[in-house]
Amino acid sequence: MSKYLFVYRMPQQEKQEQRSPEEMQQMMAQWHAWKEKFSEAILDLGDGLLPTGKILRASGVTDGPFVEAKELLGGYSIVEASDYNAALEVAQGCPMTYAPGFSIEIRELAGF
């Protein structure tokens, strides 16, 4: 078994598209269904990320949010799976891909 990092990305938008309360309720139900279904695989649901940030480079420090990026990092989770296919299966059930522009990047942890 290996560990995989799920990185959630979302489109950078001035204003979020309006959703009706029912749609949001449905998304909540999807989250729950996902958590239940893969409760063994999901080692750590992780956290969300605030839109602020800083980058340190040799040239100095830059403040976020990083307007040049079209996508924002929204959060992360850590999942256990036997291979990429299995990890992909977990990701496919995840409601974080509910809208166009949202994505999950899946990276295997090296285990150093």
Binding site: R19, P21, L45
Partner: protein, 444 residues
């Protein structure tokens, strides 16, 4: 955040908190908007809607990870109020009163220039209309606005019905809904600004009373949206119906709203909701009245409806809701479809047409008439009707004509109309139903 060991404990905590099922986002949305309007007035309704939206989105991010908080309503309120204040501050429009209303502990410096918290007091209403949510709804029922705009305003602002859903429901474009919304918001803002000291003028009892019919209409449409949803994949939305019932109950509990027409509306809702299990039994597709298993009807709801209809009886105050409730009652008390007293229903549709003239009611009367006197009788009534273009282009018009022609044995015309209807059907479930009908004719 969660170590593997704590995740199961986290999960069980969540279940004990009731999970997601007990939090109704629509209900919370309405409550947040009501409360923000109460605190900050109607100067910027759009920011208030955004704040309610933001709070629910935040819940969506946090709750799956942390579990649903013990008091979800309070959690959402804190987040929404903060979002509203932040937004106003960003716009540079943060009035002192907002700080004050937000309960800022260090507000002593605010009094330095002597300005008191102007407009801190929300719009006040006489006690006759107790529920704050109803009061907020009444605010939208401003008679200086066209009825449709009042409706858009109330459904969007207080019930969170999306622009897309509203456009489908009101048979208009999303642009039109947007225009009505912005005009409505502007009127609310003007009323807020025009009133001295940033307070809305107190509405008198008679003014409030005059707004009750508009409020009833909003509740009726809210229920309808749930009963025959505009969402393609969800023909019934029970939560909207329950919200409408809850608000109507509050209306009945108020001195001003407790009137025969409100009871009739309440009865109507109960007759309809009694049929839900049977309507939904088709697994996603709506089951027609004719084909419903009446054993699935919820008897207690029907009995409640009959009781409420009894309370609605008032010869001097006959509303369209009376007629509609009486029609539903006739259906509900018939043991079998064949037992329906169609002559009585035809009569009631005539009364309904008198109380609220609409070719739509005539269409329904034609259906009842065809059950009573045969399809030809229904068809000849429709022939005398000169339908306005919105009706002749509406799928239910073709669906009815198709059905009556089918029963009269005119296969060709039946298929023609049913095809037209299927093309215009707003939900997948209804289209499937019409296509099924079409197929049954071809086979015969």
């Amino acid at each position: 955040m969660n170590s593997p060991d704590s995740s199961s404990a986290e999960a069980s905590k969540e279940t004990s908190a009731g999970g997601v099922a007990e939090v109704t986002f629509r209900h919370e949305y309405g409550r947040i908007v009501s409360a923000l309007v109460a605190s900050f007035g109607t100067a910027d309704v759009e920011s208030i809607e955004d704040a309610a939206q933001a709070a629910l989105m935040r819940a969506l991010e946090v709750w799956p990870r942390k579990g649903v908080p013990e008091k979800p309503g309070a959690w959402l309120w804190v987040v929404a109020r903060r979002a509203y204040i932040d937004e106003r501050r960003k716009l540079g429009k943060l009035e002192l009163r907002c700080e004050q209303a937000a309960g800022d502990r260090s507000h002593s410096h605010l009094d330095v220039d002597g300005s008191r918290a102007r407009g801190e007091t929300p719009t006040t209403f006489p006690d006759e209309l107790g529920s704050p949510e109803l009061q907020r709804l009444l605010l939208c029922c401003d008679e200086s606005l066209p009825a449709k705009t009042q409706l858009v305003l109330a459904l969007k602002i207080l019930c969170g019905v999306s622009t897309r859903e509203l456009a489908l429901r009101l048979m208009t474009s999303a642009d039109n809904v947007q225009k009505r919304l912005s005009r409505g918001r502007k009127a609310l803002r003007q009323a807020f600004v025009a009133s001295a000291g940033g307070k809305l003028p107190e509405l008198s009892n008679s003014e409030l009373g005059e707004r009750v019919p508009a409020l009833q209409h909003v509740l009726y449409l809210l229920f309808n949206e749930g009963y025959r949803s505009a969402l393609a994949d969800k023909p019934i939305r029970r939560e909207l119906c329950e919200e409408a019932i809850r608000l109507t109950r509050e209306l009945l509990q108020s001195a001003l709203g407790n009137r025969p027409s409100s009871w009739a509306l309440f009865a109507l809702m109960h007759f309809h909701i009694a049929q839900f299990p049977a309507r939904e039994a088709g697994g996603g597709a709506v089951v027609l009245l004719e084909e419903q298993d009446r054993a699935l009807w919820e008897k207690p709801s029907i009995e409640a409806g009959l009781r409420y209809l009894q309370r609605a009886i008032a010869p001097e105050d006959f509303s369209p809701y009376h007629a509609e409730a009486a029609i539903s009652a006739e259906h509900c008390v018939a043991e079998r479809y064949e037992d329906t007293r169609w002559e009585r229903i035809v009569e009631l549709y005539e009364l309904l047409e008198k109380a609220a003239p609409s070719p739509f009611h005539t269409l329904n009367r034609a259906i009842a008439l065809s059950e009573w006197r045969g399809p030809e009788a229904g068809l000849s009534l429709l022939e005398t009707l000169n339908p306005p273009s919105w009706l002749s282009g509406y799928y239910l018009w073709d669906a009815t004509l198709g059905e009556l022609h089918r029963k009269a044995g005119n296969a060709k015309r039946a298929v023609q109309h049913l095809r037209q209807a299927a093309e215009g059907a707003p939900t997948l479930a209804e289209r499937e139903l019409l296509e099924k009908r079409m197929a049954s004719i071809k086979e015969a």
